[in-house]
């Protein structure tokens, strides 16, 4: 089959099984867009800003586990995509971004709409390619998908000069079934000796903790994790990225850990004697001050990326490998008899943990006459029966969503953790809804974040993706305001949101339904109404208590046992008991 470069790109996407491509046209990709025009297998989703294309593709990847695909033009199209590429990179999300480039002959001449895309994205991609020959397109794209989806996943950029997609030049096309790259062989199986040793240490623990992160989701290892946790009967905590890996409603789950983690999760981490980190990368939002982090614990760390291990925290037993495979091997050892835990100590440990739970760190004032953001999320959880996909923007609302919506399944909680990109939520909701049209998708956002990609309301209309926007409108960049309250004597420098648009009218202007509420008793009916409007995008503008803060909070430089709580409490740690 003889095809032009543009046709080859499209054919590669078909052969790769790509369902959606999120993009925006421009000069350098016109040949490519012409090739897209003549087919219907790969559905193109026209966003309203290239950043949204990357977020939507990223969310599609997060909910399905398949790579997200993006197509942007050179220059401004390419640079607009960078924030979304960096967002995917920080959270290890598989994505292939095809960017048009100026014709080969003028590269380097400051040609119209030329930027060095390979250079600009180098620090925020897993890998990138500049395609130099028409004959190389198919193999390069195969490599791009291979690199993006294997090992520790990540975004890959393929920059294609315009002349290479010229419709008048054709070559024979064949999509390689497999690629092998001598310089890229990600680990899969963990070292059996290490796994055995790790299990030995884990079984000997008196105060064990399972600290599981986004790697569990990426590895599709939720089932194995649940099996391990329930077989051992140990407490488990998740990072923000791990939520849903283990069911949040199960009694062994002690909540999220870290800066805004629960009292019980952080106290347990601090007092633990053996921690097994599973696909978690000891992020600074999790560890707090490193010298004070988990002072009594021996640490086992399972991660597919050797560079994640011992990067910030010293580890006693490293295991490099894919979580699913490592946990399977561990479970087999347990089944074959290596299974005696220290029952007496572990039971005392649970007694201690349950005491910490009694602090009820997530309680809030339920009598308030103002709408509490926590209440909204609780109601959202109930109305959707915990079954929705929740995307989020960045700020207090994100933390409230993570704390009060109990995720029982993986790939339901879609947020930007590593980069913390405001503007992520709405395009992400669209990407998720396209992937699963029959699931409820809600975007929890704030009045500041939503304005960063608000134009995507048009995309939602065009492609009929009825998502529900839950705008926790506190008239502040709440997260910024909270830090200013705690650390800058409440000098609210430029964190007040003035000139907020009328979101109801705005929603209506985009052809959607807008609802505004400001009383607690309106929350439940408004949510029910929004979800009852099955085929409409609904913008629910909820005027919440503007003074509300996220608790617990570990302020920077503090240890896990030094949390700021909503209610002052007095529960001295009983080290004897535990």
């Amino acid at each position: 089959m003889e095809l032009s470069g543009g046709q080859i790109v499209v054919q590669c996407l078909k052969d790769e099984g790509v369902e959606f491509i999120f993009g925006y046209p421009g000069g350098a990709v016109l040949h490519l867009y012409d090739a897209l025009f003549h087919q219907e297998d790969v559905k193109h989703i026209l966003v309203r800003h290239e950043q949204a294309a990357t977020h939507a593709a990223d969310a599609y990847a997060r909910v399905t586990g398949k790579p997200g695909v993006v197509l942007v033009t050179s220059g401004p199209g390419a640079t607009n995509a960078v924030t979304g590429i960096a967002t995917a990179y920080m959270d290890s999300i598989p994505m292939v971004v095809i960017s048009g480039q100026v014709p080969s002959a003028v590269i380097g001449s400051d040609a119209f709409q030329e930027v060095d895309m390979v250079g600009i994205t180098r620090p925020c991609v897993k890998h990138n390619f500049l395609v130099k020959n028409l004959e190389d397109i198919a193999e390069t794209l195969k490599k791009a998908f291979h690199v993006a989806t294997t090992g520790r996943p990540g975004p890959v950029v393929v920059d294609i000069p315009k002349d290479i997609t010229d419709p008048s030049i054709k070559v024979a096309y064949k999509y390689p079934k497999k690629v092998s790259m001598r310089s890229y062989n990600p680990a899969t199986k963990g070292h059996s000796g290490q796994i055995k040793k790790a299990l030995g240490l884990l079984l000997s623990a008196k105060k064990p903790m399972i600290y599981a992160g986004g790697g569990v989701i990426l590895s599709e290892a939720s089932k194995e994790l649940i099996k391990l946790v329930q077989t051992l009967g140990y407490p488990i905590t998740h990072t923000l990225m791990g939520l849903g890996g283990y069911p949040a409603t199960d009694k062994q789950f002690v909540g999220m850990l870290g800066m805004h983690g629960t009292y019980e999760a952080n106290m347990s981490m601090h007092e633990s004697d053996v921690i097994i980190a599973i696909g978690a990368r000891f992020d600074d939002r999790v560890t707090g001050k490193l010298d004070l982090f988990c002072p009594y614990a021996k640490i086992i760390h399972i991660d597919i990326d050797p560079a994640s291990i011992a990067k910030t925290v010293k580890v006693d037993i490293p295991i490099v490998g894919d979580i699913k495979s490592v946990l399977k091997e561990m479970l087999a050892l347990i089944k074959n008899g290596q299974n005696k835990i220290n029952e007496k100590a572990v039971s005392a440990w649970w007694t201690q943990i349950n005491k910490w739970r009694e602090v009820k760190c997530l309680e809030y004032n339920r009598e308030s006459r103002l709408i509490k953001p926590q209440y909204v999320i609780e109601q959202l959880y109930e109305v959707t029966k915990g079954n929705a996909i929740i995307t989020s923007d960045v700020g207090q609302h994100q933390m409230f969503a993570s704390q009060y919506y109990h995720f029982d399944k993986p790939r339901r909680w879609i947020n930007s953790g590593g980069l913390g990109t405001m503007g992520f939520g709405l395009p992400a909701a669209i990407g998720a809804k396209l992937a699963y049209p029959n699931m409820e998708v809600a975007c929890v956002t704030g009045e500041a974040s939503i304005q960063m990609c608000i134009q995507e309301l048009a995309t939602a209309l065009q492609y009929e993706t009825p998502v529900k926007i839950i705008n926790l409108n506190n008239r502040y960049m709440g997260m910024v305001r909270q830090w200013q309250e705690f650390s800058y004597e409440s000098r609210y420098s430029h964190s007040y949101m003035d000139a907020i648009p009328d979101f109801v009218k705005l929603a209506e202007a985009y052809g959607h339904v807008g609802i505004q509420i400001d009383k607690p008793e309106e929350v439940r009916p408004a949510l029910e109404e929004a979800f009852a409007l099955k085929d409409r995008t609904v913008f629910l503008d909820i005027l919440t208590d503007r003074t509300e803060n996220v608790y617990p909070m570990i302020e920077s430089g503090k240890a896990h046992n030094d949390m700021k709580l909503r209610v002052a409490i007095d529960t001295p740690i009983n080290r004897e008991l535990a």
Binding site: R122, S183, Y184, P306, A307, K311
Partner: protein, 163 residues
Amino acid sequence: MRHIISILIENEAGALSRVAGLFTARGYNIESLTVAMTEDETLSRMTLVTDGTDDVIEQITKQLNKLIDVVKLIDLEEAVHIERELMMVKVRTSRESREEIKRTADIFRGKIIDVTVNTYVIEMTGTSEKLDSFLAAIDEDSIIEVVRSGATGISRGEKGLHL
């Protein structure tokens, strides 16, 4: 501690900038960096001299290995190895100093490869430390120009860095 890291990397445009970019992005030191094609034209060999605690060196080697273009690398510090750097020094000479400079160069096994009425160019190879010593041994004011290649290295014995 100083480490010499030898890297086999795909001989592709941009490979060098990936390595250099990694060092600036993550705040690692580069003392020197040399790169040239190997006998296999699809591969380049890079020698990188860096400095850091054991933890930092561990991260450096892991992060380098993580670069898709890096095929293989070794930290020469972990093996018995030979280190060589090439230096050329242009010095100003006078009738009185000429003999003295030549003698010092001889002691360091340097060669005089260019001579004019009032200059010498001395070529010298050795460990970076030896080259430093030579520079310290001659009159600083006489030095017009120094050019150094940066260190390269190879492990001793049968073991080697190859595919």
